[in-house]
């Protein structure tokens, strides 16, 4: 079928262009917009028999109403995937930008993917050891999970993400068919450089696929970037049997691009001006993590988002938390105390942890131990609040022991070096050591047998 080309637009509004009297054009179809020898990609976002509305990924700068040519390509936005993409760097819509050759072999895939049939999913149970005590012990990452990092400006989420990718391994399995897909949306050059150079140092770079849309790249392109990245990840996982870890940063920039587009389209806004379909839209990204029955590979997602003003009830972290399987929340107060990684234990959670820990996965005492650590640390917060009012001297003996536990817990358990890789056994033993600051009568979450085996009370 010959491709249809139109000359002249009826209107340009921000990233949107409007064309009248187009025929035989489909919803979501991809278009090539050309002007003065330059070509940009766009996508049909609304279509009627009178006009088509097109969002231009690389922005509408330089387009003119009368001479711009628009070619409808008769297919959705696609990306070419094959083994060749490993080690390569692409822009936000999947075009190579590392000076290397075009991807030659391979097949084109619709970047929107298709929803996984819930009956085909396999429930994720394999524990990934990240070597970070707070995560392994208290919010365990599971292969096939989507576990975002909720961060704020100036907090070390990039370091944490790098440390996770460098250290992540399955217990008792050698590295090998492991790949990282890195999707950057609107992040600063320095941040991208930091992450990429660390991948390079760790020698993992041959297995990294990078999609870069930096802060000064076109905003609307960002809407396609996570989808392009996940299409590549799904290919590697479900057709090449690889275990793929997808790092997406920063989801806040993605959502802002979506809001911008929605405003230009004149849609009815919902909370804080974000479109009413933000939940569905984010779900179409996050739900592309998982494992499939009878297939080898897996897609694990670690999206990073910065909470505007550290507000966890802001629509972006809020809706993300409703979709993802838990969250790792970075805490500014801990960061100020000099704790790295500054993981706010109480607000963090891994929903898949319960079926991936314990006997046969990590260690038998893990479930009760983590529950006890949470409970004790939660009590620490209460005691601290009380101490700030009545002074430490007025506290009961038990409360003072909680204070000591809290300090040691932050200093020894949560805190660790950027290059420190702790095994799960080390993490759990450390947890027991810290519980020993408390009398056994306070430890109601662990069983008597576990107390007998692991607990040695430290008397003052």
């Amino acid at each position: 079928m010959p491709l249809k080309e139109y000359i002249g637009l009826s209107r340009i509004n921000g990233p949107l262009i409007f064309i009248e009297n187009v025929k035989n054009v489909g919803y979501n179809e991809v278009v090539e917009v050309s002007y003065r020898g330059q070509t940009k990609l766009g996508q049909v976002v609304q279509i009627s028999d009178e006009f088509a509305v097109i969002q231009v990924f690389q922005g509408t700068e330089g387009l003119a109403v009368d001479t711009t040519r628009v070619k409808f390509l008769g297919k959705p936005l696609e990306v070419k995937v094959s083994d060749e993409i490993l080690g390569r760097t692409f822009n936000g819509i999947g075009q190579p930008i590392d000076g290397g050759p075009e991807i030659i072999s391979g097949t084109y895939r619709d970047i929107n993917g298709l929803p996984m049939n819930p009956s085909s999913r396999m429930y994720p149970r394999n524990f990934i050891q990240t070597g970070i005590s707070a995560i392994d012990g208290l919010m365990t990452l599971i292969r096939g999970q989507k576990l975002p990092i909720f961060s704020g400006n100036g907090l070390p989420h990039d370091r944490l993400a790098v440390q996770i990718t460098k250290q992540a391994k399955l217990k008792g399995e050698k590295a090998g068919n492991f790949a990282i897909v890195f999707s950057a949306m609107g992040i600063k050059h320095d941040d991208a450089q930091f992450i990429l150079s660390n991948f390079e140092e760790s020698g993992a770079i041959e297995n990294v696929v990078t999609f870069l849309n930096l802060a000064d790249d076109p905003t609307i392109e960002r809407i396609a970037t996570p989808r392009v990245a996940l299409t590549a990840a799904e290919y590697l996982a479900f057709e090449r049997d690889m275990h793929v870890l997808v790092i997406m940063t920063d989801m806040t920039n993605y959502c802002e691009a979506l809001r911008e587009l929605s405003t230009f389209r004149g849609e009815v806004p919902s909370r804080k001006g974000y479109p009413g379909y933000l939940y569905s839209d984010l779900a179409s990204i996050y739900e592309r993590a998982g494992m499939i029955r009878d297939r080898e590979g897996s897609v694990t997602q670690i999206p990073i988002l910065s909470m505007p003003n550290d507000d966890i009830t802001h629509p972006i972290p809020d809706l993300t938390g409703y979709i993802t399987e838990g969250q790792v929340v970075l805490d500014r107060a801990l960061h100020r105390k000099g704790v790295y990684p500054p993981i706010g234990i109480l607000a963090s959670l891994s929903r898949l942890m319960k079926d991936g820990i314990g006997e046969g996965y990590t260690r038998k005492d893990h479930p009760h131990l983590s529950s006890q650590l949470f409970a004790a640390y939660s009590r620490v917060q209460e005691v601290r609040a009380l101490a700030s009012i009545i002074g430490e001297e007025e506290l009961t003996d038990i409360d003072r022991r909680y204070l000591r536990f809290g300090e040691a817990f932050e200093r020894e358990f949560i805190s660790q070096g950027f290059d420190e890789d702790r095994s799960i056994e080390e993490t759990l033993d450390l947890g027991w050591k810290l519980l020993s600051y408390l009398p056994s009568s306070e430890l109601t979450r662990v069983s008597e047998a576990e107390l007998k085996e692991h607990y040695k009370e430290i008397k003052r």
């Binding site: 028999d49 929107n112 996984m116 806004p269 919902s270 009413g276 379909y277 569905s280 009012i389």
Partner: protein, 598 residues
Amino acid sequence: MGDNKKIGELYLINGPVVKVRKATGFMMHEVVKVGDSKLTGEVIGLEGDNATIQVYEETSGLKPGEPVEGTDRLLSVTLGPGLIGKVFDGIQRPLDALRVKSGDFLQRGIVAPPLDLDKKWDVEVEIKEGEEVKEGQVIATVKETPLVEHRIMVPPGISGRAERVKASGKYTIDTTLMYVANEDRKHKIRLYQTWPVRVPRPYKEHLMPDEPLITGQRVIDTFFPISKGGTAGIPGGFGTGKTITQHQLAKWADAHIIVYIGCGERGNEMTEVLEEFPELVDPRSGRPLMERTILIANTSNMPVSAREASIYTGITIAEYFRDMGYNVALMADSTSRWAEALREISGRLEEMPAEEGFPPYLSSRIAEFYERAGKVKCLGPEDKIGSISVIGAVSPPGGDFSEPVTTHTKRFVRCFWALDKSLANARHYPSISWLDSYSEYNTELEGWYAENVNAEFSKLRARAMSLLSEDDNLQQIIKLVGEDVLPDDQKLIVRVAGIIKIGYLQQSAFSDVDSFCEVKKQFEMLRLILMFYNRSSALISKGVAISELLNGDILNTLMRMKENIPNDRLEQFKEIEKELKNFFDSLDKKYENIKEAS
């Protein structure tokens, strides 16, 4: 053929909403096939010759000018043997059959019959030739699973004489079992019937609920019970344990049938149910839980209009089993996603929004949904009694209970289980707040508890509740000045409230012993804890120091009895009671002379 086919022409596509012209003869809520790829859609607006349609599948690639074909039927579900143990999407497409047809990812435009057409069921026909039958009457039974006898009923609206009745035997579901003849015509009666999802199925009369739906969760059964036929809302921000609570109820509620709707939630959670339920055993029958469960899975990445429909699909299936005389429990996780689907479609229709962009008809839709719950006398001469209990999760943005979906839900449910973020942060599960939750069924169910558990039950509950609320007041003081300044009688309240919180309200979903707790065990536990309080309180009023009472293993025993005493070994409570008595008797003796002295 072909003459009376209604075909319109697409002229606008905007996400899941499309518009059609030349739609003459289309009905409101009629199912249509959209475009060359025949995507399933439903008519949601008509204006002159133009129709507005919501499409249940991804609309990429649709073009103006493509045909839209009417089907002359409303969006309906197919009801018959084969429902149980199945997983359907929001418009009742069986997901396992789709997997066979299209692989691990859901392709567009594929269809599969909701129920297995080839399977032969053992049908026991209970009607004789020539017998008069009425609407709703059971005419045959099929042992669908070891747990459920599927009762084939005469569909609503049909009564008359049974003719050409087939003998009992093995039949597929589209076999005509008999004809029912009346003045109008002869009606074919098959093993299945269809019913439009947006129309509630009829019944004879509404009954007052008077029996609790036992869930085995102490905080619910003891403090905030829901009755069979009742409605409950569970609001909670993310991470507060809505889904785990819903799963616990689906596992342990003493209903005959469970309908679980995963509405716009996570795919992995549905998989968890799918993998876990066949392995879990119903504590009452000893059979796998999947043998009484029906799942509707429309995960968050599946099309938004099918999410809107999934709630109706689920409740219509629930009504069908209710009509057989069963107690059905329906869990919807989460109704907020359904409300958001309404908002999204309403936005695409450019309707005038009300609060927070939700359409103005949100509250009436919520009301209609919850009003389909209830305990009823079913159609049919047998006077069967059936019920639907509806438990809807609500996901308020930012955990803010003043948002529209939570506030409207509160108006139409009679039981409110508020999940508390600070409890969840301390890993106190289930994180149902004992201060913010309520149940309007408490008084109606008092009689049942008195008769079936113990006459003292309501009194104990009230006592425990008042301790918890006194404790809440005391906690305010403690936050300011510490516990040490409290007098001993108030310290005792704080300590006993602590025992109730840790030893009673906290209940681990992952514990083999404690995941499900019999009501009788609940009563025994509460009785012993309060006995500890009463006797301690008596001693303290005599001036005995509280440190005397809190010494010893007895506290530990009370905190751990939930784990240490299984549901089938309730006689062990006698030993704890003896231990308690000895402990206090010896203290009483020790301080006997104080009384004399004073």
